[in-house]
């Protein structure tokens, strides 16, 4: 397996709950950036950012355009913007039309991150009530990356993990309570 250079995460309904069980549990020297899309209302303040930042030792911030992601930092898509990854790994924002009725859209993040990081990318699909993210997860696998999906029975809303599993036979399915540990162990590994 290749070293994991970056982690992209997508979630919707129930997401904050799931993220609160993952992000605060990550090692404080976590060796990769985590980039996150959570569906939310377009004019809402980014409550996810402030809550997770308070809960965890890692820095959680809203992503800025042209930002270069750093290891151990969690970048959250701002409300009403798509978050994309330029091929050199720089973060980009856009106000392009909604995809899967969503802006930010998980597919947009996953598809562009897949082209930026290829085999060294890990995508994670968490709880959610729609199917955004499954197309992007498929692209991550096609580019040689890995995909983790929260086990639907451990999700507040099972539709999003189920859609991802259905579309991605090679996805690894893991219960919520084990995801943080999985990340701490697997992201540390070097190239073998």
């Amino acid at each position: 397996m290749k070293k994991i250079r970056a982690v992209v995460i997508g979630t919707s309904a129930g997401g904050l709950n799931a993220l609160s069980r993952i992000i605060p549990e990550l090692d404080k020297d976590f060796p990769a950036p985590l980039i996150l899309v959570q569906h939310m209302s377009p004019d809402g303040s980014n409550y996810t950012v402030s809550l997770l930042d308070r809960q965890s030792e890692l820095t959680v911030k809203e992503a800025d355009e042209k930002e270069i992601p750093k290891a151990g930092t969690i970048y959250v898509a701002p409300p009403n913007y798509h978050l994309l990854v330029e091929r050199d790994g720089t973060l980009e924002l856009s106000v392009d039309p909604r995809i899967n009725y969503s802006r930010p859209s998980i597919d947009v993040l996953f598809e562009t991150a897949a082209e930026a990081w290829g085999e060294e990318l890990l995508g994670i699909v968490l709880t959610g009530a729609n199917s955004d993210g499954s197309k992007g997860a498929e692209k991550i696998l096609a580019m040689g990356g890995r995909v983790l999906v929260q086990a639907p029975e451990t999700a507040d809303a099972a539709a999003m993990p189920e859609a991802a599993i259905k579309r991605c036979k090679k996805a690894e399915v893991i219960p919520l309570e084990e995801i943080a540990l999985w990340l701490n162990i697997n992201c540390k590994k070097r190239n073998i």
Partner: protein, 277 residues
Amino acid sequence: MKKEKILDNEYLEMDLLLEGIYRKYGFDFREYSGVHLKRRLSHRLSVSGLKSFTQILHRVIYDEEFFKLVLLDLSINVTEMYRDPAFYLTLREKVVPYLSTYPFIKVWHAGCSAGQEVYSDAILLEEEGLLGRTQIYATDFNERILKEAGEGIYPIENIKAYTENYQKAGGKASFADYYSANYDSAIIKPALREHILFSFHNLVTDGVFGEMNMIFCRNVMIYFNKELQNRVLKLFHESLVPGGFLCLGSKESLKFSEVEDRFEIVSAAQKIYRKKR
């Protein structure tokens, strides 16, 4: 072929397509961010049934109508009336008091797209009693979008969201006062349009637009690379009178740009700046 190599080739083809568009038609997208361009051009690829960016290039060169479609793909910026209501609230509170002291006000909406934010601004100025002595210039590089903006006709199903935004933005009247409904369309009141001049201007290739008191350019520059952003910001600086205001999108800023120290911050959260005297 290795996936990386395939991607390299796709990006090479995309560069050549942009070069071709520039050489043939003069529209310069070579300094836009690659990932944005690729998503938009890939959309055209999938709906046109073509197989590669090189095939798009061939068609673009020989078929101007097809080029116009590609230009539309590359130029549409989605927006809505009173996008970011808090921005307009701040505009009322912190900028209008200054504008009120001017005998005549010139405003430039750069990259106005279909005009929603231009009309939002016009309504705000009207409610503050300033529109009568204001000239708004609304520019875009796409003639077709400019025409749409000038007509000021929007789908009626958007009006509910616009009305909500208007109220949150501190609107002083009923939003229905500013449009008339006609079947499935809402038409902006012609009186507002009298103070707006819609015209062609390309931020990438055209020059200074002079003596402005206020410039709006929201969520346009996020599609540009850093060098182009810098150039356009300098263009805005030159186009403003001393003390003139610059309004950017909520995720854009002057930070790390060459003009950062030539502006003071009016609202850090709403990205409103003022050119130093």
